[in-house]
Symmetry: C2
Subunit: 514 residues, 2 copies
């Protein structure tokens, strides 16, 4: 069999089920192999930013790494921004980058470039195929690495190895689990929590924000008198009536310090120490009250849920009742839209078990505060700050979970980066409702300019933060890519548009005009 | 003055006139500086692929490097594909990448990444600011490097150096010229051309395809009995009644060998040795007839036009008449559109001194063959093979040359990469007519699959090369971004649509349905 066929056969054996692709000539042998070796579903996207963003969300939802198929250095490069987000989300995925035939590489053909240099900043593992016969083994290396490291792995696959005969499927060892936190660490944290005079907080991140993670942490907190917090930008959080609501840390460092004020200890559970998104004059990089002590129960690599289970045992919290939390009241939005009323409309209309992809940037912050009022759902956020993640991620989440509605709470500035993803939603008839918060500006930049001391924006600064002239007609763009669209300017219209979008199958886009 | 202000003041003193930008928080001090230090025009784009593609074409047209403003590693990464094309075009430009404040970098905030590793594959020079006071000097280093190397230069500008006081404008030395070819080399080529028994060919590339370069080469060719050829993917070519038409090399290696058959010597003038775009089984990387000898008059760094002048002297060609070349006859297209009839319609309607940006991929090949029939114009092509160059490049060319009409001969698959550029065309009221060759497929991939031996495409392969379901409505997408659009399905309709687009100011998009 060809090298490409051995790669796909091995991927199938490993349990890989989806490959998001924007192939070119050097990936032709892989394109052909999908027809020879069934098992992995190929999903076409119109640009590589869509490919990698979809693969990220797919793995966040399924736990199974997706493959991507990318065209040489420049094709890979187009996917880097969403790979950066995937890296921060600790998402496993296997990027297959078609490379020139080995004997053609020294000729420095037009598309030749240093793929390793591009791949390393966003990959935990970067490797190359060395022959058709060894391709499958090299795929397994990438597969093991991505699950071990929980970072994207990138396999550069030379065209002659892909089209060459002599390939054979490789054995796939059991996927590595997350390293377990040792007992002493659990005991030390248990002691700390039981003996604190002031109130400690548990900061959950990564997979600790699963239903079991949050419930276990809430039981511990209820037993020892702690609070449970969530990191600001999480890969995934679960919410529902059986899951105590968790407050997440705010965006600005001054607000983080305020939010953590009064706690004696901060225990990290799969989360990093809170870090300022940007460096602000007079603000520390790590915005923590002076007297707060930071401890780690589980780092971002470790099995944080298992650590919480052990900590529940050690603190005698296993049988504790879940704290009964007050759920926020959400008012039905009326009149002209605001960021807050868009969030309310989403919460009030969302179907059970929806997946909410929140790339609201300045508009999306209102959602987490009221999300506990919504039916059971999962929320995904932008973990790395590279904008243009939302529409691709909604696409990947819908491929991952065809039985669940996907709602994409989407800023307009970011939407413009990867709007091409709508075409894949139309092509695959995905049940995604995209809500564009159309404030026609880079609101976050305006805010930062004001924060930097600009009382009034200069002409150029105002122009460089404005998307108003012309205002993008998102419904027309959506229609162009095959997705029906509507406009809403009031709360009533938005509720109505959302209900219609959820009632009809397939993708919809709603331009929520702010 | 602030570091950011000293940078802009120095850029202005160096003659930089345009900055294509998609700024974020770390570029705020630079955004503010545009209002404090006038001189450089800031042009906003909705994604970084637009920014870098526009800067590439801007410098190809003006000879003056543009600045770009890009947001940290991920923002830079979105611009890499078109920087790859710029690198292959030997385009000078200065990328300013806003980076976290120096003291914040060790905290590894969400957007932190290895910018150097991302920048090196597409930059001849990569540097960092070291203080507010030295920022202007570091800008001058980047400026000198980009003009010396004719490759993009990337300056990573830390936020604290940009907002910090103590900046001062730096002196800008005269820009370095291209290295001159030495007399011995010219004499050797002159001797070779005069003594050959079989016919030599001059292969022009880079700036040798200027009007003077082509005319000088044509005089030499006419004197010594040679043929003048152009490289396949050129940064820029000039055409017009005073410029002898130049045949360019074909795409596929077998065709290149055929095109070069019968020549005794190939003299490179600012061009590289012809290289196969991709490696094909049984085909060499350098597709040359066995008995063809390759010589270099001027390499891609050197002053090829000056070398041609010297060669004209040395071969006694200075006073030679320009050969009178036959101009192709172009028939008015009728009935259903083909790639060839789209090219004919463009040629027959194009205004004098238009700039044609050709990213036709499979459809665009028909244009160069008949372009000599068009009024005087400039053609720009995709030099690096990273698709998504056309709409951004048309945007940059229109900013560079506001008095010239720009025609963008554009494949649909590539258009989907960077269609956001239409918004900047609308915002800046640019006189660009975009003709989308809408065959609703990755035709080039289908051709490559057939070339690889697939008689009939498998189901998945057919699906991965099809853009038909749904077919993109490019006029709707354009309208969404503020650009009026129309559809043409016949030659007559396309001629009509093109005439209307050229008659009205501002951007237009025509979906030419194949």
């Amino acid at each position: 069999m060809k090298g490409s066929e051995s790669l796909l056969a091995t991927a199938t054996a490993a349990g890989v089920q989806a490959c998001f692709a924007n192939p070119g000539t050097t990936e032709i042998p892989l394109v052909e192999a999908f027809d020879q070796v069934p098992g992995v579903r190929a999903v076409l996207a119109l640009s590589e930013g869509v490919v990698t963003g979809a693969a990220d969300a797919y793995a966040r939802m399924t736990g199974i790494p997706a493959m991507t198929l990318l065209h040489l250095g420049p094709g890979f490069a187009n996917g880097i921004a969403n790979l950066h987000n995937a890296r921060r989300a600790r998402t496993p995925m296997i990027n297959i980058v078609g490379e020139h035939a080995t004997w053609h590489q020294p000729a420095d053909a037009p598309l030749n470039s240093d793929i390793e240099s591009l791949a390393r900043p966003v990959s935990g593992w970067v490797g190359r195929t060395t022959s058709a016969a060894s391709t499958a083994v090299e795929f397994v290396e990438a597969y093991q690495a991505t699950l071990q490291q929980r970072l994207p792995a990138t396999l550069i696959a030379a065209a002659d190895h892909m089209w060459g005969q002599g390939g054979m499927p490789a054995e796939v060892p059991a996927p590595p689990g997350r390293p377990v936190v040792d007992d002493q660490q659990v005991a030390a944290i248990a002691k700390l929590l039981s003996s604190g005079r002031r109130r400690p907080a548990l900061l959950l991140g990564g997979h600790a924000l699963s239903a079991e993670g949050i419930r276990t942490a809430a039981r511990i907190a209820s037993t020892v008198g702690a609070e449970v917090l969530a990191e600001r930008s999480f890969a995934r959080i679960e919410r529902g009536p059986q899951i105590p609501p968790v407050r997440s840390l705010p965006h600005l460092p001054a607000d983080v310090i305020k939010a953590l004020d009064g706690f004696s200890h901060l225990v990290l559970v799969g989360a990093r120490t809170p870090v300022a998104y940007f460096g602000y004059r007079g603000m520390p990089s790590f915005p923590l009250p002076n007297d707060l002590k930071v401890h780690t129960l589980a780092d971002t690599d470790q099995d944080a849920v298992e650590a919480l289970r052990a900590l529940a045992d050690a603190t005698g919290s296993t049988a504790a009742d879940l704290p009964s939390a007050e759920r926020p009241q959400v008012q039905s939005p009326e009149g002209p839209l605001t960021a807050a009323s868009i969030a309310s409309a989403i919460v009030l209309t969302q179907p059970e078990h929806a997946i909410v992809v929140n790339e609201g940037v300045s508009s999306g912050a209102a959602y987490p505060a009221i999300a506990a009022a919504a039916p059971p759902h999962t929320e995904l956020t932008n973990t790395g700050g590279a904008i243009g993640m939302g529409i691709p991620a909604a696409t990947g989440a819908a491929i991952a979970c065809p039985d669940r509605a996907v709602i994409n709470f989407q800023a307009d500035g970011s939407a413009a980066y990867t709007v091409q993803a709508l075409w894949t939603q139309a092509r695959e008839s995905l049940d995604v409702a995209t809500v564009i918060c159309a404030n026609s500006r880079y609101r976050i930049l305006e805010a930062e300019l004001q924060r930097a001391g600009a009382d009034e924006l200069g002409t150029v600064a105002a122009s460089l933060t404005s998307l108003a002239d012309p205002a993008v007609d998102w419904t027309a763009v959506a229609r162009g890519f095959g997705v029906p669209g509507s406009r809403a300017t009031t709360g009533e219209e938005l509720l109505d548009a959302l209900r219609r979008a959820h009632a009809e199958p397939g993708p919809h886009l709603i331009q929520a005009v702010l």
